[in-house]
């Protein structure tokens, strides 16, 4: 099952990519995708407790299950305004 992972701000700097395509098992959660990513890019680990996440441009939770073609976003703490 293929999903798109989007990364912003410092998460993008760490991974070196604003967007990644990733294969994952059917029924995987966002949390599983994050942990795979953190294994690949260990610097992400420090963000585990402070990130937010979204699926298809709606806020979601780490236990949300993803589907084929979903766009998963990982969001570091925000600083707009």
């Amino acid at each position: 099952m293929r999903v798109t992972v989007r990364l912003f701000a410092r998460l993008r700097d760490i991974t070196g990519a604003a967007e990644l395509a990733r294969d994952t098992a059917p029924g995987a959660t966002i949390g599983e995708i994050w942990r795979d990513l953190a294994r690949e890019f260990p610097e992400l680990t420090g963000y585990e407790r402070s990130i937010s996440t979204a699926v298809n441009a709606d806020y979601a939770r780490m236990d949300t299950r993803v589907a084929e073609g979903d766009e998963i976003a990982f969001l570091p703490p925000v600083s707009g305004g």
């Binding site: 912003f8 979204a54 441009a57 703490p77 707009g80 305004g81």
Partner: protein
């Protein structure tokens, strides 16, 4: 026609945003007695650092939904207040406006409160990030972990709005 909620790279045009808001409910506009506007400006310093410029980045479709959500929250809390909110992204120089919020209401108290509430909520839940470029480097500023369902954060925004 300028929308009520927007995010993009163009400089913010407060007059056009205000005109859109006035026109958005032209039948009720004549009963508005107060317009409160907030502009966030790029400052030349932050946490002791001399800032040269900022770069703002956003997850734009989600940011737009967050702004609309903030508009709905404000309308639920202050039913007679109407709100427009535009955020800018890209490189911003010192003194430029990164965000413009305009609120109209029959009563000034509600206009002030809804306007303050909106900027506090943006800082809590809008997926927007600023990168500060200062003498000798740059840094992504990281504030709040965005969680629209965090009722404690929402209540804090309401408290700051003096509601």
């Amino acid at each position: 026609m300028t929308p009520l909620f927007a995010i993009g790279a163009a400089p913010l045009e407060v007059d056009r945003i205000a005109a859109t808001l006035a026109g958005a409910a032209s039948d009720s506009a004549d009963s508005d007695g107060a317009v409160v506007t907030f502009l966030g400006l790029v400052r030349n310093h932050n946490m002791g650092r001399r800032v040269h410029y900022l770069e703002y980045e956003a997850y734009e479709p989600l940011a737009l939904k967050a702004f609309e959500r903030i508009g709905r929250e404000a309308a639920a809390r202050w039913p007679d207040a109407r709100l427009a909110l535009h955020h800018r992204v890209g490189r911003l120089e010192i003194g430029e406006a990164s965000i413009a919020i305009v609120v109209r209401s029959p009563h000034r108290g509600n206009a002030y409160a809804a306007c303050r509430y909106a900027i506090e909520r943006v800082k809590q839940i809008a997926p927007v990030w600023k990168r500060e470029f200062f003498d000798g480097g740059d840094v992504w500023v990281e504030g709040a972990t965005a969680n629209p369902d965090d009722e404690g954060a929402r209540a804090e925004a309401e408290r700051l709005a003096c509601a």
